[in-house]
Symmetry: C2
């Protein structure tokens, strides 16, 4: 029995990490004159992690972290023009077209023929609402929840509010940390659709959940209807 | 009959504009070497308005707008140290203690003896959740909604989801634009509690609603229980 099926947004329905990757590439080019032995990627990630508790996720946080990293790394030699270029790169991310992953629309449509479907996505409220609107998928979902962190508490809140028992809930997403682990920990089902890039922060040891009875792994959302039929019959 | 009473957060329950004001003061000091005939306040506001559609509200957006304004205003002469000081000012806003306005706890408690109470606040999800947590008021509300914009559509969505007719809903807040106008436009009641500073963007012509039958104006939340009793009897 399935009462509710929820999709993650970033890198499950639409491309996201690839845009961050592209911006990091641009950031590397800008920082080239100041780089000595530093691993830029590592420095930026350390700044992001330091800022996470204060800034949360999202493009604006990422942009501020790039600026801070640039100032620190260059011993304050970075120019105002270079900082303007970093802000421009951040701005471009927010204006980047939302590109759906292959088969997304068809998968949501097929699933929603049998089950209520919702979107549970984390990050900056403004970014996420804007992406959802630009994705054209807004009307396809029976409900949308945008949360600051996708942990067990957040999922429990969503299910309690809807009166859905955990074992009748299926979470679908690319992130072991945000979509799979907390859903399984609650006693829900989790369908893992890995994306080709995973942000360092979202990486977890997959062996911890790969053997869970309620864990499924698929290569693309095209396989989803068959997997859900299998879960529904369980 | 009242079925639901909602409070705004910023400058209704806790101080907010005063923190932005303090930061703008610090920003003025930092920009002093570059200021000629420019009205810094006006330049910053113009940048904020230009960025609103892309960044949304909140401290991170404001910080990015200060940096952009600094670069433009100084013809890119602003130093990395000065930009670091701007980011530091933004960071301080996020760490600033949440200071409740006078009488807030008592007012919420007295209202909740008679009606379900909720918080409807706009802005950055992460900032707002963090402020609510630090305010100590989290447990006092029956529901919380954090939205990107407080317009008629947003209020209608909240009421529809809860099955509350507009004329049995009371919105309480300091902002004519975000709390009062949209509530009255829906056919709901609005209790205006002006704050001593109003952000330029939130200013509206009050004569447009001051004569509305469902408009009430109070000086402090201490007057709220009496006003609600009056509305409930209407």
């Amino acid at each position: 029995m399935i009462e509710l099926v929820a999709f993650d947004g970033d890198d499950t329905l639409w491309h996201n990490e690839s845009i961050f990757s592209m911006t990091q590439q641009r950031f590397s080019e800008l920082m080239e004159p100041y780089l000595e032995d530093d691993d830029l990627h590592e420095r930026l990630f350390a700044t992001e992690m330091r800022n996470l508790r204060l800034f949360g996720y999202g493009v604006k946080s990422f942009t501020l972290s790039m600026i801070e990293t640039a100032i620190e790394l260059s011993d304050a030699r970075v120019t105002a023009e270079e900082i303007a270029a970093i802000i421009h790169a951040g701005r471009s991310m927010l204006q980047h077209p939302v590109e759906l992953l292959e088969g997304v629309e068809d998968a949501i449509e097929r699933v929603s023929e049998h089950h209520p479907v919702m979107l549970i996505t984390k990050g900056d409220l403004f970014d996420q609402e804007s992406k959802l609107a630009r994705s054209g998928l807004g009307e396809r979902f029976d409900a949308v929840e945008i949360v600051t962190e996708k942990d067990e508490t957040a999922y429990r809140r969503v299910l309690t509010r809807r009166g859905v028992p955990a074992d009748r809930f299926v979470m679908i997403g690319n992130s072991g940390r945000s979509d799979i682990e907390p859903a399984l920990a609650l006693g829900a089902w989790a369908v893992h659709v890995p994306y080709h890039i995973t942000w360092e922060h979202e990486k977890v040891d997959e062996t911890a959940f790969a053997s869970n009875d309620r864990y499924r792994r698929i290569e693309s959302l095209a396989e989803l209807p068959a997997v859900l039929a299998d879960i529904a019959a369980a």
